[in-house]
Symmetry: none
Amino acid sequence: MLDLIRELVIRNVSKIVLVSLDGLGGLPDPTTGRSELETARLPHLDALATRGACGLIRHVAPGITPGSGPGHLGLFGYDPLAYRVGRGVLEALGIEFDLRPGDVAARGNFCTVDGQGLITDRRAGRISTEINMRLTDRLQREIRLPGVELFVEPVKEHRFVLVLRSAGLGGHLNETDPQVLGKAPLRVRALNPDSERTAEVANTFVDEARRLLADVAPANMVLLRGFDRLPDLPQFPEVFGLRAAAIAAYPMYRGLAKLVGMEVLKTGNTFGDEVVTLRQHWDAYDFFFLHYKDTDKAGEDGDFAAKVSALERLDAFVPEIEALRPDVLVISGDHASPAVLAAHGWQPVPVVLWSRHCGADPVSAFNERACASGTLGVMPAQHLMPVVMANALRLTKFGA
Amino acid sequence: MLDLIRELVIRNVSKIVLVSLDGLGGLPDPTTGRSELETARLPHLDALATRGACGLIRHVAPGITPGSGPGHLGLFGYDPLAYRVGRGVLEALGIEFDLRPGDVAARGNFCTVDGQGLITDRRAGRISTEINMRLTDRLQREIRLPGVELFVEPVKEHRFVLVLRSAGLGGHLNETDPQVLGKAPLRVRALNPDSERTAEVANTFVDEARRLLADVAPANMVLLRGFDRLPDLPQFPEVFGLRAAAIAAYPMYRGLAKLVGMEVLKTGNTFGDEVVTLRQHWDAYDFFFLHYKDTDKAGEDGDFAAKVSALERLDAFVPEIEALRPDVLVISGDHASPAVLAAHGWQPVPVVLWSRHCGADPVSAFNERACASGTLGVMPAQHLMPVVMANALRLTKFGA
């Protein structure tokens, strides 16, 4: 599909804005029967839905709850089942580590083992981030791996990221966490022949870490999982012929955008800052990806009222974006985060697409129930970008 | 999918009529907010939509604007991405050249080159069709290609069709048009080993043409593009078990129908003539494809009012078709041609399907907005024929 798009792309000067409301979709509050979107007062989003074409976006596959990685890859036009990004890579992107092609990344946990080397706590009593920083620093300074550059980066509490950099490292390895107490950590094993050298190197790292951490209980051992290489993704600007910029206050989303080759613009901590950044760079790019985090945070916290208010805050920014007069404005999300689930959900996510050519559509409210009757239908997320490109008059016809 | 259908086909005496309104779908006029279909008075199509099942047809893929070739292949049940038909072949079909399996066809342009052989006009000043006919006739008479039969057929102005006929010719060749002025035409190169002999033959043709045209500036050279073999398509009558007839006033659509093995019936120049032809041959076939061109012509001209009136003229013919009492009547199109775009569009196209078994459906108007809520949903074009076959009670069940 991306090959087909690449073949049909033509030049144009049209501007596209894609706003991803993280965890956008919701579920009705059982007491009112109305979802977060149906409860919120959203005059600008409803007006946009009235003028635009609406539908529901299904990421990954029916019934599948997407993580933020696959959810955003879908919005960017990639089939998340064809382009998988491992946990270690996402973790590295989340701390904005500068991953390079060929790097192998893994998610690490500090853990506690007893005198026999059997695990007694898989999270080392959730040590403080401060202790974590001291320990990762020691591992980084004292471990040498022949021919391989090593990075041990702290995340929060007991979590860290391990990155191995060298030519020819494979990324297919098992995890070392046996997932139960009372067992020893597993050895790293290669799952394909290309990854045998990586397994050897990773085991050397684990052995050295065990030695260096021996006297610092509870964090006296490490567990590794989610090994993966930085995937070789077709680059968004090249596939779609767009000068593409990402504006995101949170590092994970900047990392995802960088992964597909978008330029990441420096911005502040709020969505208001993101809109300022958008305005400042308006002339320099064709495509802007803006990320809004508050909806997901409230959904994951199970806070229905906070999600309603996060939606209303976002709604107030819509006129500022419209004032820039984008040729195509799309608002959707990377997955649902219904407050009643207090977690990501599998439900399809509302989408509204406005352009001068988006067509007649019966929907006049931006919520799950209304968007179900929209002319975009229920579409796999990766179908959205071709429709966006068409509305930007940036695709020529297929066949004569 | 076609293999599955072939396996399930059963005999029946039911009659199917598929009417393709070329460029059917549209977009709202910005001043009224109503599309061509929503503006037109369409009492018979609306009545049919009320009784029938409705939906939207998406040809090729989301956001992709189909040419008439892929658009009609989709309506005939073929996935247009799996069965590609090259420009040269479509051009040959458009002049009703009798292409045979194995033939390689290319679209040709007469062009102008200077003393150094560099292109100064890619269309040779759009020479008259009369001059074109004289020149193609000379090339046809004077060029001999060893072991290959050659056809040089005039189209309009500077355009012609080149057909090479011989066993074992591949059709994967680059175009010779460098797309810019001031460069020499490119040599024909084979894009796969099977096409090497074709490249050699085509270059001989080009060299001979250059020699013969040397003194007839502005048309003193030729450019070739869209090389392709006549594709080997599964034949419609065999796949669907239908005696199938095509009734089309325009040669391109007769050619497309012939490509899939339909019998092409002689008819006149108007849709009225087509309906007369339908009536005359009613007993001899199970399936009739009727083509209506006026909607596309008006859409491509950007003439909203003319498209509205083309739709109203077509509407008046619906009772005559219904009077023949087809078991399944389907009305749809091969792609959108919104007057506001003055070109083919990517928008899904309304479809109405009536049979005694088409099911309850809430739609009561034949237009984009209303059909979006139909029970057929938004369907890939190639899914239509299986639904048509089912409604004709011509498919048995799958599995026990």
